[in-house]
């Protein structure tokens, strides 16, 4: 169980005139067990070493942005669920946030608290499922995933109680949320938050000390900070490399200033750091959840002045972003004063984090490619839109 700890970052490229007969051109995907959906990589292999890797996407393109230009603002809300279908409520919030910024709608305090609670629960879901997926990519087929999904189910049950749907929530509205918390929901959520810490301890104990996991993940897929910043990488991937950039702190939205939480930062930015950062982020999310549940005020769950029918924001333009579980999730809207947006643009973290895939994979093994792709944590619904 060894890996060279002192491997510097290097990106060997296909030398001009290299003997192409020695190279194996493999198309990984779109039907491949661990591309996390219909994603394809055209890989050139020298033995098992990656010489070149070209991502190909678009197999799940659903014309999301163009469709949104043809329907009313609220009609796009269910579509945002289908972007990153692991965490629909974050997407809902990002879109609602953008429209509220465009139309200048106030959000009542209770709704803000509900949004924070739901967004942090979503972060828990995403990072927990991530642990299972990346272990699956490493070859521990199903074991970690099943335990991750067991906990995810508990959160999804909460979502079902609240929104009626387990995944496709369609819950946020401009100026608040669709409905109030049902009776007893906050208590159930509180129990879940208390039970989640021990589950994380257990998971961390089993995963983090594992020699094979260490050997597979440490010093794999690291890039210099500058490259990451220039590439527009956000989210846990960027913070694992030690860049202190979390939109909840850098440009606070909602009511995040009211909570005390910290931003975990890694050092090397390899796959192991990306796993650990997500563990630590989940613990911080639990802190936020605990504070939010304790402070949850009574009041309106949606701004009564916000119009639902005939909603026409003034002419203008807005870009709003939130710290989604996978990184900066932003919506850019241009209004021409009609009921439909003139331009609707999503800034998906999965897609932009994926752009540096080749730089991370060059010179490594085929087996590493799968782990690196897993550590980026993509959802193809969001990449292709």
């Amino acid at each position: 169980m060894i890996s060279d700890s002192s491997m510097p970052y290097s990106a060997p490229t296909l030398a001009p005139g290299a003997d192409d007969d020695q190279l194996l051109h493999v198309s990984l995907g779109p039907q491949h067990p661990s591309t996390h959906g219909v994603f394809r990589m055209n890989v050139v292999l020298d033995g098992e070493t990656v010489v070149s890797l070209k991502p190909v996407f678009g197999y799940l393109h659903r014309n999301h942005e163009k469709i949104a230009e043809g329907v009313t603002y609220l009609s796009s809300m269910p579509y945002t669920d289908r972007l990153d279908y692991i965490c629909p409520l974050s997407n809902n919030w990002a879109y609602a946030h953008a429209v509220e910024k465009l139309a200048g709608i106030e959000v009542p305090e209770r709704a803000e608290y509900m949004r924070v609670i739901l967004a942090e629960l979503t972060r828990l879901i995403n990072h927990t499922a991530f642990m299972g997926f990346i272990l699956g990519d490493m070859g521990a087929w199903g074991s970690a995933l099943m335990y991750a999904f067991r906990e995810r189910e508990l959160i999804l049950d909460l979502f079902e109680d609240l929104t009626g749907a387990r995944m496709m929530a369609n819950f946020m509205r401009f100026g608040g949320c669709r409905n109030d918390l049902p009776a007893g929901w906050a208590e159930k959520c509180s129990v879940l938050v208390d039970d989640y810490g021990p589950f994380l301890d257990e998971m961390e104990k089993f995963l983090v000390g594992n020699e094979i996991l260490l050997a597979r993940c440490q010093d794999v897929g690291q890039l210099p900070k500058e490259t990451l910043i220039n590439g527009g990488i956000t989210g846990p991937m960027l913070r694992a490399a030690g860049v202190n950039y979390d939109i909840r702190k850098a440009e606070p939205y909602g009511i995040y200033e009211r909570f005390s939480f910290r931003i975990p930062l890694g050092d090397k930015g390899d796959c192991y750091d990306r796993i650990m950062i997500r563990f630590l982020e989940m613990r911080e999310s639990l802190k936020i959840l605990r504070q939010a549940l304790d402070q949850l005020p009574e009041g309106e769950y949606v701004n009564p002045k916000a119009k639902i029918r005939g909603f026409k924001p003034p002419v203008g333009e807005a870009y709003a972003r939130i710290e989604g579980p996978k990184g900066e999730l932003g919506f850019h809207l241009i209004s021409d004063g009609t009921v439909n947006p003139y331009r609707y643009r999503v800034r998906p973290p999965s897609f932009i984090n994926l752009t540096l895939l080749e730089d991370m994979c060059l010179g490594l093994d085929l087996a590493d490619v799968v782990i690196i792709l897993g550590s980026i944590d993509i959802v193809l619904g969001e990449v292709d839109r």
């Binding site: 060894i2 597979r216 440490q218 930062l265």
Partner: protein
């Protein structure tokens, strides 16, 4: 070659000890009664003896495919197959019907004949290897004097068939899987054989029944005199177990299949019954390598405690087999997969040196014990093996980057 030595002894026909040989005895008696010539009787008896082994292990294969799914399911907090029959007991039947009725697809670029040959070639050596194992005191299907050599000789044929499968499929994932399989199997065959050599040195024979006979008796009245309970045997047994995981392509060394990386390795382009044959070959190979490990290190059919000899010896053998197989399943449910370079480095830098060390240790142990210096034997062999083991472990763990990274927190 005393091929027929075991058959000639006259048994008590209905004793439980002889139960597995009963079909063979009955056929022989029937043919003898009908006045068939001598050669026909022995050949028929031989065929039935082989048929018994194949039948037992095909049943074991069906059972194991269910048990594996059930065990993995319990490890993974699931229930597992439970729809077909009680507790899913008919699931192997359902799987078999499904496999038989599926379309058999041969890729256009495949070498048709070799593509057909590979799944057959992978089953045959596994069955041949199972033939030389002593399953009970009176039950060795083919009692070869060079049984161990025969086992390794046919066992290495598996590599050939895996490579044929990878090459003949005319596809890239199978090719990658085949290349991985060859490098892995060649690397792990060495420590596997070397760790078995210590047993041969001590026993002075390559005959598997004799190796088991020599592990009879008990130290201090209750510790079985198995090779595992000697210093060299303990190390060699662990090395043998690790190598057998790699030989059987099981997790964490299941790189040739590498499901998340190269789809299914050499089996990618197989479907229907050919795929089922690969599956069968793997399971039979798993049985064979576990059975050999039990024979060499765990006393074969010898009872684990004194006073338990009243049970038929083959029950002990299959009990041990069940435990060893469970270890394989347990590891599969627990560990992620290693990378190819880590796998090779582990074989060449750790397994082979440690396996070589067990040879002098076994020699010293035997000579000192023969001369009656039992304490001295412990005092020399334990440090001889333990110190290099610790050194190798420390070096390996140091080359592994520190597990205890610290993380900063920004407010």
């Amino acid at each position: 070659m005393n091929l027929f030595a075991a058959i000639s002894t006259e048994p008590a026909l209905w004793s439980p000890e002889w139960l597995p040989r009963l079909p063979q005895r009955l056929v022989e008696m029937l043919l003898g009664f009908l006045g068939a010539p001598e050669w026909l009787v022995s050949i028929a008896g031989f065929l039935v003896a082989a048929g018994t082994v194949v039948g037992v292990f095909l049943g074991g294969f069906a059972l194991l495919s269910l048990i594996e799914r059930k065990t993995l399911a319990r490890i993974q907090n699931r229930i597992g197959p439970n729809r077909a029959g009680w507790f899913g007991i008919l699931q192997p039947v359902a799987d078999g019907i499904k496999m038989l009725t599926k379309e058999d697809i041969v890729p256009a670029k495949a070498e048709k004949f070799l593509h057909l040959l590979a799944p057959i070639l992978i089953v045959v050596p596994a069955i041949l290897a199972l033939g030389v194992i002593p399953y009970g005191r009176e039950w060795t299907p083919v009692s070869l004097e060079l049984g161990l050599l025969f086992f390794f000789a046919v066992g290495s044929l598996t590599e050939l068939s895996v490579f044929i499968a990878g090459w003949a499929s005319g596809s890239k994932f199978p090719m990658l899987g085949a290349m991985r399989a060859i490098s892995q199997m060649v690397s792990y065959e060495l420590p596997l054989i070397i760790s078995a050599l210590g047993v041969v040195m001590v026993s002075g024979t390559l005959s598997l029944p004799l190796i088991v006979e020599q592990q009879g008796g008990f130290h201090l009245g209750f510790i079985p005199a198995w090779n595992l309970f000697t210093p060299w045997g303990f190390f060699a047994g662990i090395l043998f177990f690790i190598c057998s995981i790699a030989e059987a392509n099981r997790c964490p060394f299941d790189l040739p299949e590498g499901e998340s990386e190269i789809v299914a390795g050499h089996m990618t382009e197989y479907s229907g019954f050919k795929y089922a044959l690969f599956f069968m070959g793997e399971y039979l190979g798993l049985f064979a390598i576990s059975a050999l490990g039990i024979t060499l290190f765990l006393g074969g059919w010898q009872a684990p405690l004194p006073g338990l000899g009243f049970l038929p010896s083959w029950i002990w053998f299959f009990g041990k087999l069940a435990i060893v197989i469970f270890m394989f399943l347990w590891i599969r449910g627990t560990y992620p997969r290693v990378r190819i370079d880590q796998l090779m480095r582990f074989a060449w830098l750790c397994m082979i040196p440690m396996a070589l060390l067990t040879l002098p240790a076994a020699g010293i142990w035997t000579i000192l014990n023969r001369d009656g210096h039992g304490f001295l034997a412990w005092a020399i062999t334990v440090p001889l093996l333990l110190i290099p083991c610790v050194i190798v472990t420390v070096i390996f763990n140091r080359r592994l980057a520190s597990a205890n990274r610290t993380y900063r927190f920004a407010e």
